[in-house]
């Protein structure tokens, strides 16, 4: 074989083929060595793909990279000596990076390594070691506590809830005009935190509160993931939040020199909503600050030019016709005008933003979740005197149904209950970073603190029924858990309709909450009624409550006719006959007949009375 035939390992730099080498693995190792010595930038990552016999070198942006401790010849480069230096703050992380003790790897290079989780796992083939076992987790998961005690599936669920939680999302919330924002009234930092939580300094932006939780049922009101809230706690501000919604509008320009105008519309305006609707607007057509607003109130009065161009009248310029294009408060919402912003866009048009503030006090149907994927909807808000209480007079804020725990296997939830309870008694926060501790040791530690303060070491308490005053026969596990209030609240989801808007084309009820729509009576629902033989109910759902129309059908030729009000007689346009019959039909069918007609197919209807 010739020399160049041997060099068949392709080398790619940022996805482009660069050259070929004989031994890809050695080539990649050479690059690594140079990187560690500082000859190459630390941002260069290289990987050797054995199956394809290719070397990929990546230096471009956008790669997610994770730090690893380098292990050479079965010995970690992060020696105990260095460890103590780091502990004494003599050296920092960047020093370790520069010295080639820690390096950042991207996803592709990670495929080439054999990483040990801990020092004791290092074998002869190990190339790297995790900086911390918890570093395998991302931000949302890393913030959670005791994840190693929970079932896998719960982690992704709790990560999702974290993103939905209400809290203090930004300090400048007063100056921001987010389309939708939630702000918790009294956010608290959790009492059991993790390294990631502290590193990200999330205590400045907390997203929950520490709830006193008892694992108890309450007369069937917390079945199936419902939770019971204490009315007094809610009144004191538990879970209370502000819901901001910003409505904005601008004066658009239209072709032909026409323009929108923000003002109180004249009664002559097309689609005028009535004097009352505009009553809260100021002289400039914009609502005033701190005004109470309800559903249907106009926030920004605006008139637009008509949709279609006007015909020129013979008398020259006629009075300019306008149509109402005002912004009204959304259906089912109320609140107070928080602030108004008037500005100009880059296109030099006037823009108005109105922020409405709604105080969202926890109510039935609001969603709460702990950091362990344990979500619940408020099933009942109970007066404090009716809640269970302990001998010390402690009344839980929230009652969680104990049936939520065994099937989901979220032992971490219970460990947090115990841990936060101990933390609140000890007066200092505890650490619950993933893989940092043994569950039994933690339990023993918490138990000691609890016993020292006169509590049961397993967190069980004797509870008394608030309604009867009798002591519960069983001891009830009571603790404190960090709970998030999620943005799925009853007020944002609730909707009713009896009669309402219909679609223009089909005349069937509209769909969706924003349009005041109805509930879809679908195919399977229809089949269920057919199966039951409820023929009149089907007719009611599909016709009377939907798109019923009356048409004139010609008895002579079977075509659709119309009623001539001048001659006071129905007319068939195709045969000119006047003998037509009024027929009740679905508008969808009428449309179908028209559509078939557009295919050049004539349909004949033969009428029969029943």
């Amino acid at each position: 074989m010739t020399e160049d035939k041997k060099e068949n390992c392709r080398v790619y730099l940022n996805g482009k083929e660069l050259t070929r080498v004989a031994d890809g693995a050695a080539f990649a190792e050479e690059i690594r060595k140079n990187r560690r010595q500082g000859v190459l930038s630390g941002e260069v990552n290289v990987s050797f793909l054995k199956k394809l016999n290719e070397v990929h070198i990546n230096t471009d942006k956008g790669r997610v990279r994770v730090p690893y401790i380098i292990v050479e010849n079965g010995v970690s480069k992060f020696t105990p000596e260095l460890r103590s230096k780091v502990a004494n703050k003599e050296v920092d992380f960047n020093y370790l990076l520069r010295r080639g003790i820690i390096e950042y790897l991207d996803a592709e290079e990670e495929e080439n390594i054999l990483a040990a989780v801990e020092e004791k796992d290092i074998g002869p083939e190990t190339t790297h070691m995790l900086v911390d076992p918890a570093s395998v987790l991302g931000i949302t998961m890393g913030v959670n506590v005791y994840p190693e005690h929970n079932q896998m599936g719960r982690h992704s669920i709790s990560s999702n809830f974290m993103k939905q939680s209400q809290g203090l999302y930004a300090f400048n919330f007063g100056n921001r005009y987010d389309a939708r924002a939630f702000l918790l009234y009294y956010p608290q930092t959790p009492l059991v935190t993790s390294v990631a939580f502290r590193t990200l300094n999330l205590k400045t932006h907390p997203n929950g509160q520490n709830f006193v939780v008892a694992l108890a049922t309450y007369y069937g009101n917390n079945m199936k993931d419902a939770v019971i809230l204490n009315k007094a706690a809610v009144d004191r501000g538990l879970g209370r939040s502000i819901f901001y919604r910003t409505y904005s509008d601008e004066e658009r320009r239209y072709p032909g020199g026409q323009k929108d105008k923000i003002r109180i519309p004249q009664p002559s305006t097309e689609g005028f909503l009535g004097e009352h609707a505009y009553s809260k607007l100021g002289d400039d057509g914009i609502i005033e600050k701190e005004t109470l607003v309800e559903e249907g109130d106009v926030l920004i009065g605006k008139t637009s030019p008509p949709r279609f161009l006007e015909e020129q009248t013979t008398f020259g310029i006629s009075e300019e016709k306008t149509r109402d294009n005002s912004v009204t408060l959304r259906m089912g919402e109320d609140g107070v005008i928080d602030n108004v912003l008037i500005s100009e866009t880059s296109g030099a048009t006037k823009i108005v933003k109105v922020r409405v503030r709604h105080i969202a006090i926890p109510e039935l149907g609001d969603k709460f979740a702990s950091r362990h994927g344990q979500k619940g909807v408020v099933g009942l808000i109970v007066n404090q005197e009716d809640m269970p209480f302990t001998k010390d007079g402690i009344v839980p804020d929230l009652l969680l149904n104990p049936h939520s725990l065994p099937s989901r296997m979220t032992a971490g939830h219970m460990l947090e209950m115990l841990g936060v309870k101990a933390a609140s008694l000890a007066g200092k926060p505890f650490d619950g970073t993933a893989f940092s501790s043994n569950g039994f040791d933690e339990m023993a530690k918490f138990g000691e603190i609890l016993e020292g303060n006169g509590f049961d070491k397993f967190g069980d308490e004797e509870l008394y029924d608030g309604r009867s005053g009798r002591k519960f026969r069983a001891k009830i596990f009571t603790g404190v858990v960090y709970y998030n209030r999620l943005y799925h609240m009853a007020i944002t989801h609730m909707q009713v309709r009896s009669r309402g808007p219909v679609q223009i084309l089909t005349r069937q009820p509209t769909e969706g909450k924003a349009r005041g729509g109805g509930m879809r009576f679908g195919e399977m629902e229809r089949d269920a009624l057919v199966g039951n033989g409820a023929s009149l109910l089907i007719k009611e759902r599909m016709l009377d409550q939907s798109d019923k129309t009356m048409i004139w059908v010609c008895k002579n030729c079977g075509d659709i006719g119309y009623f001539n009000y001048i001659k006071n007689t129905p007319v068939c346009p195709s045969c000119g006959s006047n003998s037509l019959e009024r027929v009740e039909i679905s508008n969808a069918f009428k449309l179908l007949l028209y559509e078939i007609k557009s295919l050049h197919i004539k349909t004949n209807m033969k009428l029969k009375s029943e």
């Binding site: 089949d527 023929s535 009149l536 089907i538 039909i585 679905s586 069918f589």
Partner: protein, 345 residues
Amino acid sequence: MKEYSIQPGEAVGVVAAESIGEPSTQMLLRVFHSAGISSAVVTTGLPRILEIIDARKKPKSPIMHINLVKSIEKNYEKVRDIRKKVEEVKVSDLIKGFTENLKSGSMTLDLDREKMSLYEINARSVISKIEAYGTDTELVGDTLRVKVKKKEDLRSTRVSFVNIRALSVVGVPGILKAIVEQSEDGSFYITTVGSNIKDVLEIEGVDKERVFSNNIAEIMDAYGVEAARNVIARDLYSTIIAEGFNTSFRHLSLIADAMCFYGTVKGVGRHGVAGLKESVFARAAFEETVKHFVNAAIFSEKDELRGVAENILIGKQVPVGTGFVKLAVKKEDLKKIKNSDKARE
């Protein structure tokens, strides 16, 4: 008896569809739970139901169940002999290896004596089968030389070599495996992997009235629609029962009837039961709307509005359940009759 009979106007079709649809969705959900425990070779559960409902020509795993004539049913020796006649042994099953020379048009086969004795086949029968294909053969020791008589192009030579290796020496083509099993009453029967009713019926000793297959198309060919109908209903029922669900047999019987209504087995779908509905609107509402309307226009079709779908579409009371009954004598007619009666008096 009257208690069990169906009331007039009962929507039996919809109820049948629902009572097969409900366990199907359950099965679909359960597939993910039982993942990895696939030991059975036979298709069961939802895939099998779909196979039957769609009237597929070839099932995923064809299986036969051959009963034998009563006189030899209990005789293991004889049943075993029949089994040998059933199981297909190909040339490729009897060789250790082969070499091909496409240029000279010759192929050598290394006969596997051990396997041949296992199947109790001698070299002569192999040779006669291969020669029947139109080749010259020559046996030297354990190697069999095969040479094509006519010199063809390489491609067709190769095809004929492949075909020769796939030749069946004994047994019924298409039956990969046959096993003798004993039923509770002591009689023996044969179960097979692969199905070929037509050729199995030729074998002597097979009870022609008790040969079963899960290939419904084959049953249709060999025994006719009625048999196919029964197998459809029975197989649907046993699949649902085997999955631990329960459905009244009558629903499945109805589905089988609907599928066999046209004299041959038709699948439930565009090309089968749903596509052959009487009403233009009902067909158009299902699939290929425009096609149905255009054809209806060409043939000047008339929709009598007797079905459910078309009546929902136009907004009439559906002729099902409470909408099934009609007044035979209308009120106005009654008045007329009364008047005429009075006049007569």
